[in-house]
Symmetry: C2
Subunit: 350 residues, 2 copies
DNA sequence: TTGGCTTCCGTAAACGTTTACGATACTATG
DNA sequence: CATAGTATCGTAAACGTTTACGGAAGCCAA
């Protein structure tokens, strides 16, 4: 009825119905045009697309999701509160950036599912998947035993984990190569004459702590050395935790001459604690850690393991999509279980 | 038909219909029971709740949202990529924690809406709101002119901003009291005899940079001092940016004797850069900054402005809810426009 | 008995999409 | 001209909820 006169330009764009009667065609055709279905005239498709653009129409998420059974959303679950994950904001932000470069090609949106520190992560995740919030899930901060895996497997939700666990339901995973880091660190320190080497690990039951400690122990054994149980330092993954480690360290009767830090968030605190105790990093105590935005600006510069977080995110996203039926034809059906290598960047701290 | 025998315990719980016929009552009653509507027998309500619990039923998000027109989700928009946000490692995680303590009381979920660095933030936000993703939005990293405000106002989406802007559509906001920080910093430094005071600000058009610079200039003027234009340092909000500032600083012919850092993420890099240039922080150059997980572990300890990020999150959440009709009866209709105070924590850097 | 309340529950209509199916007009072929 | 095939579009039924509405009891008072 109303021709292309732009009279009611900004009428309340309630939905596809308004758009359809504005164009004087049926809503079925409009939907097909917008979704790129084949049986629609190219001429009308163009009209529809232009009208949608100019009126700012975007398909309602709930309606579409209800009908299609798919949301176009991938959730990255993480826990809030400052002392939980041990990864800083910048860690995840960089990973997200990589993930999104992949998702953007498929009109998928990445959202961070924020589990409150007050709520049980299993309950939270159960709620999220039962509500049908996301088509796929990325899990991080995996624990030694992680019930979340079983939950997602039972519900048959496509997911991938950034981190391993003793709980294994056959899902794909990516994990940083903490074994490689442990081995290379110990080898390097031993080659430089160190015989008493300490390590840090998270205070809770994050899986990486076990992996790291075990490999350190094994590598030391290969060199005929033993890991002193008192040289295993558990801490909260933040600067305060690093500071406390330094204090414990300095109070020891038989002090190690080197320490390997699995977490990057404790470095500044550790440095400070050591200096206060009269132990100069790099001279009185060799330190090897993980690269962070700070590590190269500490003095002495931290010898650290680095990786491209963006590339990690890309791999994570592609491996997840490979498990999703809707994208099976695009991404090869590799079943990714990959240890992501880290490169040693020599500094002056060891 | 099937009585309470738990034979088909884990039948595929497709939806409320299965739950209803499992209980042999209508889906209408089930829905009312679950939603706490008054006109349902307490006895049957208990039966329904128990069955839902044991079968793991949770209402499908899309169906509910479609019918109710509300999603129960609040989105916190942030940009991904490492150099964008300009907040330190755990800034957002702590704020989220506060926000969630409020939301938990109302069965609201907080999700982070992650805008890719590849995508225009305005387009992204437009997409999100048109899809009807969230009932309310929290915006951060506000710019000098921020079209996102107008977009949300036009669509009548409840929102609040963490940060101000010249763009003002009458929405509530909270912001850190950068004026107070500037004034207290300058006063303190002037009282200690400094006459050449520098400052940092973001390299882009984040609003806080303008606010901060203006107030610094005004306070200096009050003391009869002038802000040297060459003593305004713009930088990316990360450690590398801080390092570059230090290099510029050291190359200056008339070097300032003090500097105030608006951003906490540049501190470690700045320290390093100064030391490399033979300028000892706290002795050759007074420094006042923002508290971060690192600031208290630097040497010398940073004199910094601190705040409770968790309390900030709580205030943010409550002020947002106060603007939402559904919660108008719970939260007083205050129209929050609040400068969040920061406390000066003396260190040894000034 | 009648009428009016109250309490509880079932019925069915939305909400905004997508899509299977059928209808129409047109073209090509015999 | 009749028929088959193709291109394009309209119709209506889903998807899983919530909720307005009405109906069926049960109770009490007139």
């Amino acid at each position: 009825m109303t021709s292309r006169g732009s009279g009611e330009e900004r009428g309340k764009m309630k939905g596809i119905r308004q758009l359809a009667e504005h164009l004087d065609i049926s809503i079925g055709t409009v939907s097909r045009a917008l979704n790129g279905k084949p049986d629609v005239n190219e001429e009308t498709r163009k009209r529809v697309l232009e009208a949608a653009e100019s009126l700012g129409y975007v398909a309602n998420q709930s309606g579409r999701a209800l009908r299609k059974g798919t949301t176009g959303v991938i959730g990255f679950m993480m826990q809030t509160g400052s002392e939980i994950t041990g990864q800083g904001d910048t860690f995840f932000m960089s990973v997200f950036d990589g993930v999104q470069t992949v998702f953007a090609r498929h009109k998928l949106d990445l959202v961070a599912l924020l589990c409150s520190s007050q709520e049980d992560p299993n309950d939270y995740l159960k709620r999220v998947v039962a509500r049908g919030f996301a088509d796929g899930i990325i899990l991080s901060a995996t624990r030694r035993h992680d019930a979340r895996f079983e939950l997602l497997a039972k519900r048959k939700i496509p997911f991938i984990t950034l981190g391993r666990s003793l709980t294994d339901v056959g899902q794909p995973w990516l994990d940083l190569d903490f074994e490689g880091m442990a081995e290379a660190s110990i080898d390097r320190l031993v080659a430089r004459g160190h015989k008493h080497i300490a390590l840090t690990r998270p205070h809770d039951d994050m899986n990486l702590g076990y992996v790291f400690e075990d490999q350190c122990r094994a590598t030391l054994a290969r060199h005929g050395l033993r890991l002193d149980e008192r040289h295993i330092f558990r801490s909260t993954p933040n600067e305060a935790g690093g500071y406390l480690i330094a204090r414990e360290l300095s109070a020891l009767e038989t002090r190690p001459t080197a320490i390997v830090l699995i977490n990057e968030a404790i470095t500044v605190g550790l440095y400070r604690g050591l200096v206060e105790a009269g132990i100069k990093p790099g001279r009185d105590m060799a330190i090897i850690g993980r690269q962070s935005p700070h590590s190269q600006f500490l003095s002495p510069r931290l010898t650290s393991f680095s990786l491209s977080l963006r590339d990690l995110g890309i791999a994570l996203a592609e491996s997840l999509l490979a498990t999703m039926p809707a994208f099976a034809d695009i991404y090869p059906a590799r079943h990714a279980r990959l240890l992501w290598p880290m490169a040693l960047v020599p500094g002056e701290s060891d």
